[in-house]
Amino acid sequence: MKHGRLRFLFGALVPALVLHVVFVLSPYAQAFYLSLTDWTGVAGEAHYVGAGNYARLGGDSLFLDAVRNNAVMLVVVPIVTLGLGLFLASMLHLGGRDGRSGIAGSKVYQIVYFFPQLLSLVIVAVLWSFIYNPNTGLLNGVLRGIGLGSLARSWLGDPDLALPAVMAVLVWSSAGFYMVLFSAAIDGIPKELFEAALLDGAGRWDTFRRVTLPLVRDTVQVGFVYLGITALDGFAVVQVMTAGPGGPDGATEVIGLSLYRNAFTYGKFGYASAMGVALFFATLTLAVLALRAGRKERVELA
């Protein structure tokens, strides 16, 4: 039995560990080293340049555009997506008779809302590049159809509108998912809490603010981390949708795109790795901040 145990453990762990070390751990470790070299892909030709790549990042205006755009997305995308998701979830429950159960058709709404989250961001991006098309797109078509033709724009061609247009796509693809998530969280709140609030004469808005909101905090926090990671990425949508990609004039450049271009178009593998390390620290900071923010003031349900 003892012998069989060891053999089983060996067989269960070793294949996965080999795969993990070769394709995951070693690339991550190598990336930190490569970021300190000027490697251009020729075997044995990597020279140590210390922090040189990192110093150059500070003077790379396109990379700085990318950092700025990712920062804007990091703030806007989670707030708008979660706000919208929470709004829709509370509408779903507010519309019901006792301020809590769903309104008529709430099952159908949930099914429809959820679907975009399942689609590949590439599919979503291709779809929206049609929608934004200035001449034949759905958006300008709708605007002209309802007599607001003067609002029709070249959505992805205007440097001021391109980034908001990209962010709108990210919001569109996941707001419904968070609505379903919040809705499930609200369903999990004991009915008595709502009844007590109603008995105390609290209005619907007060009930939402004092009862619902504190109790879905955990969901908000998880959503923030997930959407933050999505916003720090943004690669697929920008690469497929925008001119350049990353244009016009760097208006939609993101860090992932800069990294990809420097590595696989220019062959500056050391420099690209430095961008990867920068992105890693941004992600790490985000996760730590979110976890720390979540630790205080958690509401316990008996």
Binding site: A12, A16, F23, I123, L127, L284
Partner: protein
């Protein structure tokens, strides 16, 4: 009045969600002329030939099969390895157990972009660039950490009595795992399996870097390159048809496994 506002709000977002999707599906049955001159009209006669053109000439059919092979292989490998590791770490006490667990879990906190450059050269040196096995191995390698994390807690909560009884009856360790514990873990396996399927099916960055051969493009890659090339050729109807074909399997799976998918996705997010 108070009742009306929620209904209007729900309906508005419903339209915002559904309209673009319906528009794409309808456009896939129209001629280019109709799409360009009258984006709103319903197709007069359904032009099914758009679909066959997308499937055959624009290679959507081939991309589809490539995706099926790579995602199928990657998913099977991920589930097998992930379940084995999670079970071994959750139910056996041995030195190094915690270290191995954290080695896997830590990988979830690293952005894939960081690994991208070295990963390209690792795969290239193994001679796996642009091959099915290469993509399958990499897909599995990047999906296993979450699978281990998810199933680890799941295996911990399963009762031990059944396994002990099976051991008494002379069942081997592998026998207990495959015949006793794995069936008991079915709900967890389904949830994480759906989560992994969607993640792998929608993967874009890894194939973009590791799969440069157009003959082996997966669906997301093929669609992205198609949107550029068909744009030049102005074959809009073919492109809409390709887009609809790409959405279809996800839609069918969603309708068929709607409850499971929602449960799997929400569980994946809350974890």
């Amino acid at each position: 009045m108070k009742r009306v506002v929620p209904h209007v709000a729900m309906l508005c977002w419903g339209v915002v969600t559904a309209l673009p999707l319906l528009w794409a599906v309808l456009s896939s049955f129209k001629t280019d002329q109709q799409i360009l001159t009258d984006p709103w009209s319903l197709p007069t006669t359904p032009h099914v030939e758009n679909w066959s053109r997308a499937w055959n000439q624009a290679d959507i059919g081939r991309y589809f099969l490539n995706s099926l092979v790579v995602v199928g292989g990657g998913l099977i490998l991920t589930m097998l390895l992930g379940a084995l590791v999670a079970y071994a770490l959750a139910r056996y006490d041995f030195r190094g157990n915690r270290i191995i667990y954290y080695t896997f879990v830590a990988a979830m906190f690293f952005p894939v972009f960081l690994a991208l450059v070295p990963l390209f050269f690792v795969v290239q040196q193994l001679g796996l660039l642009g091959t099915y096995p290469g993509l399958i191995l990499v897909y599995a390698a990047y999906a296993v950490p979450f699978t281990v994390f998810f199933l680890h807690s799941f295996f911990r909560t399963l009762p031990g009595e059944v396994a002990e009884a099976a051991f008494m009856d002379g069942c081997s360790h592998a026998g207990v795992f495959f015949r006793v514990m794995l069936p008991m873990a079915r709900p967890g396996l389904v949830a994480v399996g759906i989560f992994n399927f969607l993640g792998l099916w929608n993967q874009y960055l890894l194939p973009l870097v590791l799969n440069p051969d157009p003959d082996r493009y997966v669906l997301a890659q093929g669609l992205a390159s198609l949107s550029v090339s068909q744009g030049y050729r102005s074959d809009w109807s073919g492109l809409f048809a390709g887009l609809t074909i790409a959405m279809l399997p996800v839609l069918i799976a969603y309708v068929a496994f709607q409850r499971h998918i929602r449960a799997g996705m929400t569980a994946g997010a809350v974890k």
